[in-house]
Symmetry: C2
Subunit: 515 residues, 2 copies
């Protein structure tokens, strides 16, 4: 058994079962090892940003790290933007990056680069193997690192760099057995007690991370019922369990002036796995810190604490009822006429099956959240790190993780183009992903932001940098070219028909929504 | 005048005229500045790897740095793979990367990351602006860094990080006037003299960098005529001027055993802007260093030296004739019947117009080089850093740099998918790029490399990681979806017709070559 096989066996033994791969020559022994270990599923992507985004979606849905298999520093570079999103999501994820054989690095062959340096901005843990016999243990250490609860900015991306000679040399089996997620520190009783005294109808309980899991939101709903506090999530939580039968959790809005408006009469902002809200970008006349004067920030639990335990303890401390206020099911009627972002949301909410998964990195997708929350139980995956091109890959990985659930990818036309190669992987794997592309033929958010600078007369060159209309992208043709059927809709009626076809399909489907 | 406008004006004043852009909110003042300075051309790309690859192609053709305009660390990350290629090519190139306002960084908003750390593996020069008044001078310093001759591994990529407040604050004009490329050290006379004594029919003069410019290869041809030495280029030079009327320069082959075979009877290997050949990857039973025993390596000039001057001085020292052996024009006949990689090369060589530009990152493209060299004057752009997905963007940038020349992008189907968004920019800009996709529905090189491990029985999972046939990519439909017309060819006759249509087009065209 060579080092590569010892590594893949140690991953499988630890509980890791899926690898999103775009290998090259330096990874051939790793490919051979994956071939030899059938418990490891290999999913090919044609661009590394799809690998990392899919591994992020997979990890968010399972809590188990997926592997990416990447080709030296350049392959890792292509994966970097979605690894940034995964880091911000605290998603467990392991990059396995091939490297030249140790003796070969000094020759500075064309693909040589400082892989650890490339990994550094996104990785909580980085190791370069130094021997074939030590490789399997390094693999287990990577799994432990991916499963160790960490504060948000550090994340849970582990990067293991594997020189080719460590892969091809004689391996040694690692310690056996599954690896469980690391323990989360328990929040002390005095913090719980002090928190209980501070919540009332002038308070907001701000949830993020595992606080937005089903037990987390259920406990938060009890707290809200007992105290009258309002429940919000951060603007971009990694995953939210929501829908009828669960408490309503409102997303904090995106623009800083909107957040300030939401919080303007709030006396206590209590953080449960969340951080105090800050502006997504800096603006000349707006603060970075979005906590208004007169609002006190209280920390119930850090993201890496036992946040759910703290919420349950707080609810119990408050003698809260065992069922808090929950959302009652309210499927909207199907709208008619011209299609709009709002109508897309209504139709999705009217037609989406129970227990669907939604991955979105677009404003249009975000607008669908409150409507969907009232209509159908869902797992909602947001763009955590602000780097668009995440929704499609994340949907792909989520569908591979949860083959029995319908997945939606709600994408802007600008964002979808960064990682459009995900459609090919969806077709190959037969994933049940319905992609909705909000086709407004623009980087619309940029035009909005540009106007926020006070410029209403947009010059020709600036306009050209926001404009996707020349040429217009034929989304249905683009999907077809990668094996994904689809249809275009400019009216509500057409969108309903297209969505129906997508939901009836056994595999992926794309709907172009002209909004 | 704000800092952003002072920066763009300083770039224009320094001689920089083109910006390949994929901006976001933090770059809005820079967009406004580009809008205000009409001498700066802005070219939108829908993925940052297209920006960096296009800037690489532009810089190779003009010797003048183009800008990329990128959105924080995530945008720079997406550009990284082609920046790695640009670094290896010593292409002058300037990344302008937006960053949060200085006061905002500490709030760790979602897009915050360590941008300098992302830039480090690819950049010879990195600065983060600290004031709006100093921004314009930092821009000039970036131009100087991009134009300073550097050794190969350091490259000429300069990265200027611009916090939003440095862009929106009051600017100050920089020193005025164009910036010329930095001086290249002259090679001492004693090195020239010593070199002259060592060349004969058992020698190879190995050329790279500016040695492969027209004056460089002309001087090398004189040296070959005077001494009988053979002329080779490195396997992946950034740009080669070749064709009838110029001396023949053979590329060193790709696989290490092939290089060892070429050099086996060579007594002296003289380096002119090149490095001694090393294996692209490490193999268990092959050396990294490909200089055989008994072959002496002699350095005429480093890549950052005045390599052309050294070659001319050496030719003069040898009293070499003023016209060396040159290639005589020999357009091949058009082949007939089934299409193959070799037949694609013959047809290209038969039909390509004079002074065309070829950008390629594929084995098929590489195979066309010797045939094209005998047929037509061309500028040949190779994949310098081994990260595929470079040919299409480089062709795009080269076409924008040289609108009067026909450009060819010779791409593998695997490689083309990484940065396929370049087709949209080609359509928008009306670039004269004919893209040939060698559609073998496989990562063929990986299967070859896998077999080189001694494995001839490729398992199902391994095979799935080399296979692009399920689903088969409809290249013509894919191109059409982004506004690029095209045709599919399975025979020589069909390829000739398709190529003819492409050459007659005023804009881009794609030919799928089933090989």
């Amino acid at each position: 058994m060579n080092g590569a096989e010892s590594l893949i066996r140690s991953f499988v033994d630890s509980g890791v079962r899926c690898c999103f791969a775009n290998p090259g020559t330096s990874e051939m022994h790793l490919v051979q090892a994956i071939d030899a270990v059938p418990q490891m599923r290999a999913v090919l992507a044609l661009f590394e940003g799809v690998c990392s985004g899919a591994a992020d979606g997979y990890g968010r849905m399972t809590g188990i790290p997926a592997l990416t298999l990447l080709h030296l520093g350049a392959g890792l570079g292509n994966a970097l933007a979605n690894l940034h999103n995964a880091r911000r999501a605290s998603t467990p994820l392991i990059n396995v990056v091939g490297e030249h054989a140790i003796h070969h690095v000094a020759y500075d062959a064309p693909l040589t680069s400082d892989i650890e340096a490339v990994a550094k901005p996104v990785s909580a843990w980085i190791r370069t193997a130094t021997s074939s016999t030590g490789l399997a243990e390094k693999g287990r250490a990577a799994v432990r690192a991916a499963l160790a609860p960490n504060p948000n900015p550090i994340g849970n991306v582990a990067t293991l760099i594997v020189p080719a000679d460590c892969a091809w040399g004689e391996g040694r089996a690692a310690e056996e057995g599954p690896i469980a997620p690391g323990a989360r520190p328990r929040v002390p009783d005095d913090v719980i007690d002090a928190s209980a005294a501070q919540l009332n109808e002038h308070s907001v309980l701000l949830l993020d991370g595992v606080a937005l899991s089903e037990p987390g939101v259920r406990a938060a709903g009890r707290i809200a019922a007992a105290t009258g506090c309002k429940l919000y999530s951060s603007t971009f939580p990694a995953r939210v369990e929501s829908g009828p039968g669960l408490p309503a959790v409102t997303r904090l809005p995106y623009f800083p002036e909107q957040v300030l408006e939401v919080l303007k009469d709030v006396r206590v902002l209590m953080l449960a796995g969340a951080e105090a809200p800050v502006s997504f970008f800096a603006y000349r006349n707006l603060p970075s810190n979005l906590v208004p004067d007169g609002c006190t920030v209280v920390r119930l639990a850090h993201r890496h604490d036992d946040v759910v335990g703290a919420l349950v303890a707080l609810a119990d401390d408050l003698d809260a009822p065992h069922a808090g206020h929950v959302v009652e099911a309210a499927r909207p009627d199907l709208p008619r006429g011209a299609l709009s972002t709002a109508n897309v949301a209504r139709i999705l909410a009217a037609m989406a099956p129970e227990h669907c998964i939604v991955a979105t990195d677009s404003g249009g997708g975000g607008a669908a959240y409150p409507v969907m929350q009232r209509a159908v139980r869902n797992s909602w995956l947001n763009l955590t790190g602000g780097s668009i091109g995440q929704g499609g890959p994340a949907a792909t990985g989520a569908a591979i993780a949860c083959p029995d659930r319908q997945v939606f990818a709600l994408l802007g036309d600008g964002g979808a183009m960064y990682t459009i190669q995900c459609l090919w992987t969806q077709a190959r794997e037969g994933t049940k992903v319905v992609t909705v592309v909000y086709s407004n033929r623009a980087y619309n958010i940029l035009e909005v932001e540009y106007r926020r600078l006070g410029i209403n007369d947009i010059g020709k060159t600036a306009a050209s940098l926001f404009d996707l209309s020349g040429p217009e992208i034929d989304w249905v043709g683009l999907a077809h070219s990668m094996g994904v059927p689809g249809a275009r809709a400019s009216t509500c009626e057409a969108f309903v028909l297209a969505l129906q076809r997508g939901l009836e399909s056994d595999g992926p489907y794309l709907v172009r929504a002209d909004v």
